[in-house]
Subunit: 208 residues, 2 copies
């Protein structure tokens, strides 16, 4: 089992290589190149790649296709996981309309909102249902994952509804820590790591 | 200078300790506790904390207040950096209304949109301006950071406008790599790392 830090590093390699493929660069990349761009240790890069079964060749490096494929396979991007979004407001709407998460396996089957004005509308081709239908839809579709993009006060109650309906994982964007049984995986999303890097850069560059 | 991976680890410690403070736990935390919760090496935690000048005491551990303070100071969260958001749609609107970024130093001074229907409205207490005012406002306010939440095709053109106006950093949410001079820092935000962790969990738990 890979810990959170390894998963994060694999995603760094994934995006780096995806950008390289997009810019039509060579079909190979060396661990030294990856290490230099990420300002990290070459040995750690090779250790991570070995852990997911990817080996390089001398003077050639790693095949970018093989590397991307191994990361996708290891992290489960090739399997669709049925997902719902609760809270079809701004953030929920942005996630529902963003085609870019499909390549990570996200398969949105329904949206939910407590606002009657939103119920019945469609976002990203998916219908918005009332909260009253949540339990039935989660059970019937054996939904794996729920994305929570509701106000903080609504989050815990919805988490409990979801747990009762058999959800396996929750992607929580609401600024409230959830209390759930230990067999339910919660990822509390802060979208703050990117901001931290920007703040740190501005501080170092004497931005004031 | 701390590399990207250290900044990310510091944010993990920050959120962990912030949650602990929120749940009124002890005013101290040990590197062993941090290491266990993040499934990482105790020595690496202590190395990171030493790098930002935080030292623990035997049997007592690290003061959570001192730890939070050191991370905030190191990463520049105590200094306001003037910021704008371009693209006041769903994602831009969610970021403008989200009070949670202020504690990282984000100080939003203006929003911009090319849609005349949005210009003149207010989001999160900040006015939406036309793109024609972008250069003048960035220069006049010496804006440090621009958040790009526009469609992919609009991103590069706006980046060039921003560079011309003297922007120092760009937080890019649009799915397009930007070409900018090397003295402009771009953070390409994927919001996919959290999803990768969820996908990996679901794969390991045999979710299908
Ligand atoms: N994690 C981050 O980095 C980050 C960034 C921005 C916003 N946020 C958070 O994301 C959440 C959504 O933000 P937003 O700007 O999209 O808000 P929004 O007001 O635009 O959307 C919230 C939606 O949730 C619905 N809703 C409210 N209570 C509900 C309930 N009990 N059941 C179902 N639906 C319910 C509302 O009708 C609305 O459509 C907020 O909690 C916000 O603080 C987090
Ligand atoms: N990085 C991620 O993880 C992630 C997640 C969701 C969405 N996105 C991306 O974020 C962007 C915004 O998504 P959204 O759902 O908020 O879209 P949206 O359509 O709701 O908002 C886009 C806004 O940009 C404005 N706009 C368009 N062209 C412009 C220009 N040239 N100058 C100024 N404003 C302009 C539009 O008028 C609109 O208000 C998209 O590129 C989307 O693909 C990224």
């Amino acid at each position: 089992t890979l810990n959170q830090l390894v998963v994060e590093r694999l995603m760094h390699y994934y995006h780096l290589v995806a950008d390289q493929i997009e810019s039509h660069a060579s079909g190979h990349v060396s661990s030294a190149q990856i290490a230099q761009l990420l300002e990290m240790d070459d040995t750690l890069v090779r250790k991570d790649l070995a852990a997911i079964g990817v080996r390089g060749r001398p003077r050639v490096g790693f095949s970018t296709a093989e590397l991307m494929g191994a990361i996708r396979e290891t992290l489960g991007f090739n399997e669709r996981y049925r997902s719902i979004i609760i809270g079809a407001g701004r953030l929920g709407g942005a996630i529902a309309s963003y085609g870019g998460f499909g390549k990570y396996g996200l398969d949105i089957v329904a949206l939910f909102d407590s606002d009657p004005a939103r119920v019945g509308q469609t976002l990203g081709g998916v219908a918005i249902h009332p909260i009253e239908s949540l339990n039935a839809i989660v059970r019937e579709h054996r939904v794996h994952l729920a994305v929570l993009t509701v106000p903080a006060d609504a989050a815990q109650g919805l988490a409990e509804l979801l747990v009762g309906a058999g959800i396996q994982a929750i992607w929580n964007f609401a600024p409230r820590s959830l209390v759930v049984p230990s067999n339910v995986f919660v990822r509390h999303e802060h979208i703050s790591v990117g901001l931290a890097e920007l703040a740190y850069y501005l501080k170092r560059s004497g931005a004031r």
